[in-house]
């Protein structure tokens, strides 16, 4: 145990009560018996009692650290140490304090500050600027707390706006990031633009990879990605400039052939695509084998088609290819309609 700190009582300064109130609005002057001789205005506000003079300090507060005490001599023994205490009006808020002995055993002087729960304390007791000495930085802490809440709010808003912008940018993106091909949005836009010309001639191919899932499952996603990149390369090399190749799903592709609705030519292209995609590729020493099923629809089948109708018809033709044993190419005909 540490011995009480010796604070020399001389030379004495005579301070008026009013001066004490301004300097230390949270002070309490105690008699040798622990009765309140006078108290600062903020302390009086916080204990919420008009008439506290003559009452015991231990009826108004509890000392928590360094230890619980209930008599003045025990409190005096803690002279000069940091005290943690609570007022009975708000026992959930811990305050900070320090006590010193007054000369000639005439009592003690206790000064208090709000400690780390200053913001809650200010709210609890409705404290104002006038309740603090200008030397007390509690007000600056409150200011800082409010200012940093504001700036972090602004930062959070910025982050949210950036996130929203990122999502929009992603939605507006026209490229499939893995293969560099167009994405579904780009294909929809290109198709809509093509359809806006009633004289446009075109072929629309829907292709789905066969056995791709098996590559993914047995050789891993990296091998799957390798296959997709390879497919993209093959597709790009088989179309002309101006045609559009899009990856519209995991292993689904749509090809738009502009100014071409020749079934013989498109069938040759489809067969060549299947043939080339069936050639095995090697990824990290492992052989990847896939094939492809294709369905095609042509502008000459329609008078005034919609994008959805074209995609749906190409899709039906594709499923006809799948159903008849995969690795095939089928043109759409009305009797393919789902039943």
């Amino acid at each position: 145990m540490t011995s009480p700190e010796i604070i020399l009582p001389d030379p004495l300064i005579g301070l008026s009560g009013a001066a004490l109130d301004r300097l230390m609005p949270l002070h309490v002057w105690l008699s040798p018996k622990g009765q309140i001789v006078r108290a600062g205005p903020t302390f009086r506000k916080m204990v919420r009692q008009a008439d506290i003079i003559g009452g015991s300090i231990f009826d108004l507060m509890k000392l928590k650290r360094p230890r619980l005490v209930s008599k003045l001599p025990d409190l005096m023994a803690l002279q000069g140490q940091r005290l943690t205490l609570m007022l009975n009006t708000a026992p959930h808020l811990t305050l900070r304090g320090m006590v010193v002995a007054l000369p000639g055993d005439s009592g003690a002087f206790l000064n208090i500050s709000l400690g780390v729960s200053f913001a809650e304390a200010v709210a609890e007791w409705h404290l104002t600027l006038r309740d603090f000495s200008p030397c007390d930085q509690t007000v600056d802490l409150l200011y800082l707390r409010e200012a940093s809440a504001l700036t972090s709010h602004e930062s959070r808003m910025l982050t949210e706006r950036l996130e929203a912008a990122r999502i929009v940018a992603e939605e507006q993106a026209l490229t499939d990031t893995l293969t560099g091909l167009a994405n579904r949005r780009a294909m929809d836009t290109a198709l809509a633009r093509t359809l806006s010309n009633p004289q446009a001639r075109y072929g629309l191919m829907h292709m789905d990879l066969d056995y791709f899932k098996r590559v993914n499952d047995t050789l891993g996603h990296a091998a799957g990605d390798h296959v997709l990149a390879h497919v993209a390369k093959v597709l790009r090399s088989e179309v002309r400039r101006g045609d559009i190749v899009a990856r519209v799903g995991g292993d689904e592709f749509v090809l738009l052939f502009r100014d071409c609705d020749d079934p013989d030519l498109l069938d040759r292209i489809a067969q060549r695509l299947i043939g080339r995609l069936e050639q095995p590729t090697v990824f990290e020493g492992k052989t990847c084998r896939i094939s492809a099923s294709i369905g095609t629809t042509l502008s000459s089948y329609y008078i005034k088609p919609t994008v959805d109708q074209l995609l749906s018809d190409a899709d039906q033709a594709l499923y006809a290819s799948k159903n008849s044993g995969r690795a095939r190419h089928t043109f759409y005909t009305p009797d393919l309609a789902p039943g």
């Binding site: 409705h126 404290l127 104002t128 409150l142 910025l158």
Partner: protein
Amino acid sequence: MHGLVNRALQEFVKDTYGADIWGEVRDQAALPFDEFESMLHYDIRLTRLTIDAASAVLHKDAASLLEDVGSWLVSNPAQESIRRLLRFGGTTFLDFLQSLEELPGRARMALPDLDMPEIVLQTDTPGRFRLEIRWVLDGMGSVLLGALRGMADDYGALVVLEAEHGREGAEIVVIDLLDAQFAAGRTFELDAQMR
């Protein structure tokens, strides 16, 4: 220039004159974006262009425009937070005046990268003060003049404010404090929740 400064200008135009007018200002200043972000930094040229454009679109000289920005900053309900932060400066308008030199330091407590002017307060006579302002951006004297007018109302003080040109590009605001407690003023609770 810190985004907060630019954004204050932008929000003032939007709030006072509408989003369409802001659109005109933005187009005239040829800003390469829709809105300033408060937490980013911008080339000071953009700030100057925006002030010039707002001044042209609103047919107001820059000093009057910036004075309005200052008043708006401290009196518009949506900016209550700024009024509050300023009220931490003191219990009375006089205390508040004396705290103005601390303003840049206070601002940097919250935002270390915030650009702030250099502010010096001189007391000519007990009721007369001269605020000397130096900054990279012209017109901060006008902003402060507008803000001081708003804060005097807030404290209920009666003041006469006048702008002057100082030496070496300094802007001066002369403050005559006629009555510190002329009116009741608005209350200020330390606890933000009490609003």
